[in-house]
């Protein structure tokens, strides 16, 4: 009897922990919403999102430059990362001998484990001089190097591991018989990949890309270190910009001393939370469908 009671008691405790973990997302959203309420009450959403003057001292909080800044680095990183990730996933899943795959996959895991500050440092040491002295002069532009382009390159490399490892798993769920059927019809390996495997794996690859996108969107330190942090919407790849997470990281120190400033910054955190939650749910729903199919 004792042991039964123990079991019941332990299960209730574990249930408590589990419920807490499901609720923490809502607690976070609620707390951030509470703190962003003052600014939401005095300004309309369109004013916050569409005006571009950011002067906390004057009470002007226009998020437009930060939203454009974040979107442009993130989209650029996706444009760079998607073809590279798709091609290397196809190589790893379909072509590579198992020995090669066995060597490359741990390396990709290692890439995922490198702290973002290191990526930022790498950007400062390599990417920025490269842009400043080689790429920009080559196309006739002048820049300090701290730019949207630098942010895009660093972010692209940071999202490689997540996109590749998720989509590689998706490729392996495509049943082998499908490939055999295509081979039997005389298709080459590439034709099979292009017409048969890709068609089945595409939703999964899109989900992997969404996960990569949200990772890039929320990345703070690496972007902060290479993007230049100028609160003006960039008009070219070589312009500096400012991202939403960087805005929070750079200004949390003084936010309590200016009215509504804290509210504005925590509103930025709320936007990040809601956007990331939306993207994750979207990607997970697609991936869950694929998982069900493969079982």
């Amino acid at each position: 009897m004792d042991r039964r009671l123990e079991d019941i008691f332990a299960s209730k405790l574990m249930l408590l922990a589990t419920i807490f973990s499901s609720l923490i997302l809502f607690i976070m959203a609620f707390a951030l919403f509470q703190r962003s309420n003052p600014i939401l009450r005095t300004r309309s959403l369109s004013e916050l999102f569409l005006t571009s003057s950011w002067r906390p001292m004057m009470g002007e909080f226009g998020f437009h430059p930060f939203i454009i800044g974040t979107l442009s680095v993130t989209c650029l990183s996706m444009i760079l990362a998607i073809p590279i990730c798709l091609l290397s996933t196809i190589y790893l899943a379909e072509y590579a001998p198992s020995k090669v795959r066995g060597t490359i996959k741990p390396l990709i895991d290692l890439l995922a484990g490198i702290p973002s500050v290191i990526y930022g440092l790498w950007g400062v040491l390599l990417v920025i001089p490269l842009i400043r002295y080689y790429i920009a002069p080559f196309v006739g532009a002048t820049t300090t190097g701290y730019s949207v382009l630098a942010g895009g390159i660093v972010l692209a490399i940071m999202v490689f591991p997540i996109i590749i490892s998720v989509s590689e798993e998706v490729f392996t769920t495509v049943p082998f018989e499908v490939r055999e059927a295509s081979f039997a019809l005389g298709a080459t390996k590439w034709q099979t990949v292009k017409h048969v495997v890709m068609r089945q794996a595409l939703p999964g690859f899109i989900a992997a890309t969404i996960l990569g996108f949200s990772r890039a969107f929320g990345e703070t330190m690496a972007v902060l270190m290479v993007i230049g942090n100028v609160a003006k919407a960039p008009s070219s790849l070589f312009d500096p910009a400012y991202s939403l997470p960087a805005l929070i990281a750079n200004n949390y120190g003084e936010m309590m001393s200016i009215p509504l400033y804290d509210s504005a910054l925590l509103f930025a955190a709320l936007i990040l939370l809601l956007l990331m939650a939306f993207f994750s749910i979207l990607a997970r729903i697609v991936l869950l469908r694929i998982e069900r199919r493969s079982v």
Binding site: D7, A10, T18, D109, I114, P115, T188, P245, L272, S280
Partner: protein, 282 residues
């Protein structure tokens, strides 16, 4: 050679190129950081705390940040494990394939995708509400909040893998679900759990954005949970931000220390997984 074969060869070339870019970027990160940082690396970097005028290029090291990061990561990993293990056990041994279990998994996945700066901002609000100051304790709480979803999902995945027959055997001997969970499933999942813990530890030691708001920064080694604490990623970041070349050199060196630490963790995780594999019933 016909067109089909040509197309195949062309795309195969592109694939090899892409894969080399991916692997090459990893090597480039290591090479650039180590080549720039190694010359500035010295024993005093590892064994001394910053002396007066350190940030102007004078004597000292970043022992404060190394120890701070280790304290923070150990504390956060331990705290996260206390939360993760019960959740993973509950999901696998009690909730099973219920709707509640899949919703919990979904919410953990969503939490996994929330940027660490948002956790920092959230913890900052709680600190304001309680009137707490930035300290090691709050750093630990923030980082553990941010790593526990990763750890839980990783443990959950290995527990899912352990065969159901083992559990049946244990039930047949009259053990309760709790006994089965703790004595059979946990042991079976041990190698995977260790990997999960080390993964979370690596995340904790490498994250800067969340502790920026909650752990503060100080030049001394913390003596209690309520002292502010320096961390390695922030040491890299702050030293890089100074205009003095010597200090920037030290930022590179600090980067090397951080990178080596992460690399060692990754190797340790691989080796220990292999070592503990022998206790697993296949």
């Amino acid at each position: 050679m016909n067109k089909r074969k040509l197309e195949e060869a062309f795309f195969k070339g592109l694939m090899l190129l892409s894969t080399s870019i991916v692997v090459g970027s990893l090597l480039a990160v290591f090479a650039v950081v180590i080549l720039n940082g190694a010359p500035a690396l010295s024993l005093s970097m590892l064994t001394q705390t910053p002396k007066g005028g350190y940030y102007l290029g004078k004597e000292g090291g970043i022992l404060n940040a190394i120890i701070g990061s280790v304290y923070l990561a150990i504390g956060a990993t331990a705290l996260a494990f206390l939360l993760s293990l019960p959740i993973a056990l509950y999901l696998n041994e009690y909730a099973r394939k219920s709707r509640f279990a899949s919703l919990t998994r979904l919410s953990l996945d969503v939490l996994w995708g929330i940027p660490s700066i948002v956790y920092g901002a959230f913890a900052f609000i709680i600190m304001l509400y309680l009137g707490a100051r930035a300290s090691l304790l709050w750093g630990i709480i923030t980082v553990s909040l941010f790593v526990f979803p990763i750890m839980t999902r990783a443990i959950d995945e290995v527990m899912k893998m352990s065969p159901f027959k083992l559990r049946e055997a244990s039930y047949a001997l009259g053990s309760t679900r709790l006994e089965t969970a703790l004595k059979v499933v946990t042991r079976q999942a041990l190698p995977g759990m260790l990997t999960a813990v080390l993964l979370a530890f690596g995340r904790g030691i490498g994250d800067a954005a969340s502790v920026l708001l909650t752990a503060g920064y100080t030049d001394s080694v913390p003596h209690s949970l309520f002292d502010p604490v320096a961390t390695l990623p922030l040491a890299v970041f702050f030293q890089l931000g100074t205009p003095i070349p010597e200090v920037q050199q030290r930022a590179y060196a600090s980067g090397v220390i951080l990178l080596v630490l992460v690399l060692l963790l990754s190797i340790a995780s691989r080796l220990s997984t292999r070592k503990f594999m022998k206790y697993v019933i296949k």
